[in-house]
């Protein structure tokens, strides 16, 4: 009896240690990612490649990107610009859609719209990219032709913004629906009892109370837009210098710079390692933007947990 107990205890201990080991390994992946990207990403600033060394200051502030002078200052600005525009386009649409689904629509319509948004959210980015390159880009080109602007086959800031807005819309909408639905009903009832119209209540009370939740959706959307690579690369066009704020000129984002031409780059060359430097910048940009947005979110007021 005692022996069996001892054996069981030993088995428990072994099992626990195996599980602990896998858990630690899983947690270490994020460390591995950051360390690896940092290690390779710092190389260009300390090593010399065929007598060529990259200055960090020039790298982070420069306005031209071409071999072997890789400078990404303008790419950071253009990335922010594209993401900002996409959020400005998609956030109002998403919030209104969420309001419609949560408050206005009859049940059937609400279900149809929810399903539509879920389907949209599950479409892989490569298909958005294909749609962008095969359709949106041509639409933009034809539109630009009509108003007399020459584009690079339609690959432009505008096309990128359209595709990105489509991709982040479901994210913002889904979180906004949850946020609006979890606004306490007595608040709305109180507003109605005070004589506000239904629409007034929806726009002034429900939306206002749901603001932090909606903003959480926007933060997620921004994160997705900053990190989106495949679709953006297919429609951005790859501009060599900048920054550019014109809607119809080609543009370049951090992710598209990492992805474009990776197969011509040899392992260990400057062209290859610089992508890790840009990846590192991308991680830092995402972190900083998230920290700022979360600080803003905290000032927006009380957050109603979805019930």
């Amino acid at each position: 009896m005692d022996k069996a107990k001892k054996r069981n205890r030993r088995i428990d201990k072994i099992a626990k240690n195996i599980l602990l080991f896998t858990a630690i390994l899983s947690a270490l992946f994020i460390v591995l990612i950051i360390v690896i990207v940092a290690l390779r990403g710092f190389r260009p600033f300390f090593l010399s490649y065929d007598g060529h060394k990259v200055s960090f200051f020039k790298f982070i502030t420069g306005t031209r990107y071409f071999a072997p002078e890789y400078r990404i200052g303008y790419i950071i600005i253009n990335t922010m610009y594209v993401v900002l525009l996409s959020v400005l386009v998609s956030a109002p649409i998403s919030v209104l859609t969420a309001l419609f689904v949560a408050k206005m629509a009859p049940k059937v319509l609400s279900n149809i719209l929810t399903t539509t948004i879920e389907v949209l959210a599950s479409i892989p980015s490569i298909i958005f990219g294909m749609f962008g390159k095969g359709y949106v880009v041509i639409l933009v080109r034809n539109f630009a032709d009509k108003i007399g602007i020459v584009t690079a086959g339609g690959q432009s800031t505008l096309a990128t913004v359209i595709v990105l807005s489509m991709m982040i819309m479901p994210t913002i909408t889904m979180l906004s629906i949850t946020a609006i639905k979890s606004v306490p009903e007595d608040m709305e009832h109180g507003s109605l009892a005070l004589g506000a119209s239904e629409t007034q209540t929806m726009f002034c009370i429900s939306l206002n109370a749901a603001k932090p939740g909606i903003f959480a959706g926007i933060i997620l959307g921004v994160g997705r837009a900053l990190g989106e690579a495949t679709a953006v690369t297919m429609v951005a066009g790859g501009r060599g210098s900048g920054p550019t704020f014109s809607l119809f000129s080609t543009t370049r984002t951090l992710t598209s710079t990492i992805l474009t031409g990776i197969h011509e780059a040899n392992f260990g060359s400057l062209e290859y390692d610089i992508r890790f430097s840009i990846g590192l910048v991308l991680i830092v940009v995402i972190l900083v933007v998230n920290i700022i947005l979360n600080a803003v979110k905290k000032r927006l007021g009380r957050y109603y947990e979805p019930s």
Binding site: N8, D12, A15, K16, L19, L20, T22, A23, I24, S26, A27, F29, I30, I33, I36, V37, P92, I93, L96, T97, L99, F100, V101, M104, T116, E118, V119, L120, S122, I123, P124, S125, I126, I127, F128, M130, F131, K133, G134, Y135, M166, M169, P170, S197, E198, T199, Q200, L226, G227, A229, T230, M234, T255, L259, H263, R275, F276, G279, L282, N290
Partner: protein, 405 residues
């Protein structure tokens, strides 16, 4: 009264704007589906699923003679039959949509027997071969005449009816299919799940069942949560910098330095890890506490309780995690472009280079003239599979959540 009217106008206009905005989502989805299906359905067939991407050129191994031969016409619709050489050809399109001549029938005793390619590999003269270049036929007076494929199948058969032999014939096997990418995708799903599922499940079991409530556990949790926020291109960088050299060293194969299926699968393991962990944990938390307490009270050890009570009861949740992971694997592109490369392969091995369906789209959309038709065809397949997977997750979750109510 005036103020009430003003209010009404504002209310109505706000409502109308909301109505319009909420249908933009429907329009976008409709536009994407319409685009993909209208462009891609033309190519969608069983054939494209089983055909290689790269077509292989072949030529006749030796000069063939058709002196005194005569074959019976099988009467294939729209096809032209060459009685002296025993084959039927028809005007057709390749999978890329280019006009061509296709061999649809070859008699068993036809003088066209074996072909050879540039590497000297022999292959039988097969039905399905494409003739899109030139053929040199020998006439009765030993002069030769060149036949061009662009004049069509009827011309080919007409000229050959006067010929007594064929000196050279350049043909090729059908190309433009996605067989390799389908197999690679299946390999990726299999490899990713077989490595990633146990890993994720064990981690979730630890976090949910064993981990003490302390700072270390919180740290582990927040580290794993951070993985969900990492963009897939960063996973790709990691795959390129860690898994490519690692697998290349493990298999001691320097060719794998440019990416391989196994390196792609390992990268995907990291990507699906948080998905599996989250699904398993939420499934574990739905299992009633009384199950666990009952098991422990009956004298089962902790290990027995975890693996024989908690795990089996959480299986539906784990299943939905696995299905979500499959969706992730099928849709992933940026990470795989780095870890696996964009070379579309036909001979698939886990140490070789090839593309998943999503990366196949990337490859054919990348050139100067993007092949939207083929890309859309692949997109149809991806869309159908991903939507079916998502629907099954919904069904499973609904059933599972209701089970303990």
């Amino acid at each position: 009264m005036n103020r009430v009217n003003k209010r009404k106008v504002i209310d109505t206009s706000l409502k109308v704007i909301t109505y319009i905005a909420s249908f933009i989502a429907v329009i976008i989805l409709g536009a994407i589906l319409f685009f993909v299906f209208s462009r891609g359905s033309k190519l969608l067939s069983f054939k494209i699923l089983v055909t290689d991407y790269h077509s292989k050129p072949y030529r006749l191994e030796t000069t063939v003679s058709a002196k005194g031969l005569s074959f019976e016409n099988p009467h294939i619709k729209d096809a032209y039959f060459s009685e002296n050489f025993g084959f039927a050809v028809k005007d057709d399109y390749t999978l890329e949509g280019i006009k061509t001549i296709r061999f649809v029938y070859i008699d068993d005793n036809s003088p066209l027997k074996t072909t050879i390619n540039e590497q000297g590999e022999k292959s039988p003269f097969k039905e399905g071969f494409i003739f899109d270049s030139t053929m040199r036929a020998v006439l009765e007076d030993e002069s030769t005449v060149t036949i061009f494929s662009r004049y069509g199948a009827e011309n080919l058969v007409n000229v050959l009816s006067d010929a007594v032999g064929i000196q050279t014939a350049n043909v090729k096997s059908e190309g433009g299919g996605i067989r390799g990418s389908i197999i690679t995708t299946l390999y990726l799903i299999f490899l990713t799940l077989i490595i990633g599922l146990p890993f994720g499940i064990l981690t979730a079991l630890y976090l949910h069942e064993i981990a003490p409530q302390n700072k270390v556990t919180n740290l582990l949790r927040s580290f794993i949560d951070m993985l969900t926020g990492v963009p897939s291109i960063i996973f790709g960088l990691m795959g390129a910098a860690v898994f490519i050299p690692l697998t290349s060293a493990l298999f001691s194969n320097p060719d794998m330095k440019r990416g391989s299926v196994i390196a792609g699968a390992l990268t995907l393991v990291v990507i699906i890890l948080p998905v599996v962990i989250k699904a398993t944990e939420s499934a574990l938390s739905v299992v009633p506490k009384s199950y666990k307490e009952g098991s422990l009270a009956l004298g089962a050890t902790k290990t027995q309780t975890i693996f024989k009570i908690m795990l089996p009861n959480a299986l539906p949740g784990i299943l939905s995690g696995a299905i979500l992971s499959v969706g992730r694997v099928i849709g992933e592109s940026a990470a795989l472009i780095f870890a696996m490369g964009t070379f579309i392969g036909d001979k698939i091995s886990i140490t070789g280079r090839s593309t998943s369906l999503a990366v196949h789209i990337w490859s054919v959309m990348g050139g100067e003239i993007p092949n939207v038709t083929l890309a859309s065809t692949i997109a149809i397949i991806i869309l159908i599979v991903v939507l079916a997977l998502n629907m099954s997750v919904k069904v499973i979750t609904n059933r599972f959540m209701n089970k303990y109510k």
